[in-house]
Symmetry: C2
Subunit: 421 residues, 2 copies
């Protein structure tokens, strides 16, 4: 008998009919002799609808109250799933994040889990009940105020509960039936992976794959909780996310997949004095405004006037704010200009095989050359190469890389399995 934690996303719960389907799956898992803990996101677009309501009553809703508001969504879906399970003749009990012992920091809207004390959940499991736990929410350990974990926080709730309960696996259900070698909407012969290591999944999540939330993978890796990405529409076993790439026998080590990302913008600061601390001013200002920067490039200094150019990428959503900030700094910093470009895309190749197989970078750049794609920026990690290119070339580049590294299968991927859930 195993202990299985299942997490269902909002699209899997968007209607009464979908909720009944999910309940059947849960009861089937229980009937196989497993203990089952279920974490549900809010139904369909509930969270967005509540956010709309909030913006109608207040231009800047206070974070504490926003958390009180949004956590209602998961209470609703959890209670409904519990009812649906009950109507199938199984015993179910729903718990709020607080009741399930999900203790967090005090940062409303983006709290971190500091401890999980699932005493009540354990008790209910021991009675043979299926436990439903409201995802995305917790309670501030000090003030007992309700907190939320930020977008995608239900995945983190599921992993944290799985860790605290010493579960055998944490299954993440959505409308995607696994992790693919590429987005099948872009690369038709993309293949579903049976297994992927935590490190590779982390790199994938970091460069644009939206299948799993980065934080939940980090948590699962730190606690050694195996995750399984599955679809709530099929019985496909999905993709197992587990183990370290160090454990993969060398001869099996391969390249894992290609990821694409259109969510970033490129900013270039021209003619910034190339003296210590000048670049730091730029990044400190952005950090203070909580704007995450990704790829960074500093040109070789100009011999003529001792200035240089700095290029970096940041989320497009933050682009206008970043530019406003930098325009102000431009005057004080005596820079020549600040340029903004959001017509860019990022394509990345990920794979543990990169470590031990020389020549991957050469193959990578040749594949793009043959596809007539110009690279504007390159960044790498031990198991990843990413390049910034024109957005219009993104699909072409992904297909070229996927082909070059032999990631495709001989059949066209049947299911939608793209970015976004």
């Amino acid at each position: 008998m195993a202990l299985i934690v299942q997490k269902y996303g909002g699209s899997s719960l968007e209607s009464a009919e979908r909720i009944r389907n999910v309940a059947e799956r849960i009861v089937a898992t229980k009937k196989k002799g497993n203990d089952v803990v279920v974490v549900c996101s809010a139904m369909g677009d509930t969270t967005d609808e509540l956010l709309d309501l909030a913006s109608e009553v207040s231009p800047v809703p206070p974070a504490r109250e926003l958390d009180m508001l949004l956590t209602a969504g998961e209470r609703i879906s959890n209670a409904l799933v519990a009812m649906a399970i009950d109507s199938l003749g199984a015993k179910a009990q729903s718990f709020t994040g607080s009741q399930a012992g999900v203790l967090t920091t005090e940062r409303h809207g983006d709290a971190r889990i500091v401890d999980v004390t699932p005493g009540r959940v354990r008790e209910a499991l021991d009675k043979g009940h299926i436990c439903l736990v409201a995802g995305f929410q917790g309670v501030n350990k000090e003030t007992r105020d309700v907190t939320t974990l930020g977008r995608g926080g239900s995945d983190t709730t599921a992993v944290a509960l799985a860790a605290a309960l010493n579960a055998d696996v944490c299954e993440i259900y959505s409308d995607v039936d696994g992790v693919y070698t590429a987005d099948p909407r872009i690369v038709p012969n993309a293949q579903k992976l049976d297994k992927i290591s935590f490190e590779e999944m982390l790199e994938l999540a970091a460069v644009g794959s939206k299948i799993l939330v980065l934080r939940s993978v980090e948590y699962a890796r730190a606690c050694g909780v195996p995750m399984r990405v599955r679809s709530s529409y099929s019985n496909d076993p999905g993709t197992l996310v587990a183990g370290s790439m160090e454990d993969i026998p060398v001869e099996e080590v391969v390249l894992t997949g290609v990821a694409t990302d259109k969510s970033e913008a490129k900013i270039t600061v021209l003619g910034i004095p190339d003296t210590p601390g000048k670049a730091a001013n730029v990044f400190r200002a952005l950090a203070d405004a909580e704007i995450n920067i990704d790829m960074v490039l500093q040109n070789v200094s100009s011999l003529e006037d001792g200035t240089t150019d700095i290029t970096f990428t940041c989320p497009r959503n933050d682009g206008p704010r970043a530019m406003e900030l930098l325009r102000k700094l431009q005057r004080d910093g005596n820079w020549k200009n600040v340029l903004y470009d959001d017509q860019i895309g990022k394509v990345s190749l990920i794979g543990a095989g990169m470590k031990s197989h020389p020549g991957v970078t050469a193959d990578f750049t040749e594949a793009l050359r043959d596809a007539n794609v110009n690279m504007e920026l390159i960044s790498t990690s031990e198991i990843r190469i990413s390049v910034l290119i024109r957005e219009e070339h993104l699909d072409k580049a992904a297909r070229a890389l996927h082909e070059k590294f032999g990631l495709g299968g001989d059949k066209v991927a049947k299911v939608y399995a793209g970015t976004g859930r």
Copy 2:
């Protein structure tokens, strides 16, 4: 400086615009130097929508999960009102029933408040914050499970909090601007009362006035919390519900109002043996099925066969269930027949003046005679006379009684102030 508890009903909160209006009223109350605690019902039809969802996933939703589901409604409205208050520059903090210390019995769906320990609310008030408390909900003292207080429970929450915080007044806001001498839709010159005693209000609520929930008035009377019925659409001071009718000087004692009720059905058991215990069998069976009976009449026994007839009223909603039950008993009990009639109405006259003014019953019956209305059943309390008549005669009877006892004013009531909120 006073401590004021305000309760807003669902129709007062049905849209973002209405929520902003309510927030302005709350902030204005605070700016006058008062401490303010606000209890909100769920927005508009939220509760009904959640109930519909529940019935879509389960034919008989378990009560514990139904409470978890329904309590989401008040969390949403409370958080939104807190945000709207915040956007007006005042400090607000929302609390769930549990956080506000509303401790209840374990009976899900119809729990009773056993204690209110509003430590966190008091703390927030001391910091100058406006406190929002989710109505209708509490927490089971033993299991820490979420409970609800039954329909109209938000009024009870407001009164219980007012009592626990020793508030000066508990204001109940809806779309009705006070308690009237009759339903102005039926009696156009009905007058708004400035004040009414608890006893009179209890009688009014018991005989069909839906302005205040009976339980909340009982609670307020027991704890001596003055209530004020007001409209969230006007600045009218409304009607004060306070004090005992014993405190009203005798020369001011008058008749208070006329109430009408179309929600009951009449059941008659014919030819039941007139021996001890036979009538008890009928009422025990109905009590076991949780069907409330109201007016009861037992005829004088027939000299011929020693049987009698019993007539009583019960809610129309429970009529079919009651009849099914009685049909079964008919066979065992050897009754002649059981008759059902839901074309009836009840008209009542209420007033502390009844005690000290003889002749009210005579005037009452004469008024109905003059209006050509036949009485089928009469029941009285110290300060009330109720009669059962044909439903089609209800409006005519109410107008005749209102006129006979001089309750009307010289102008037509301008606002809607009927039964139902």
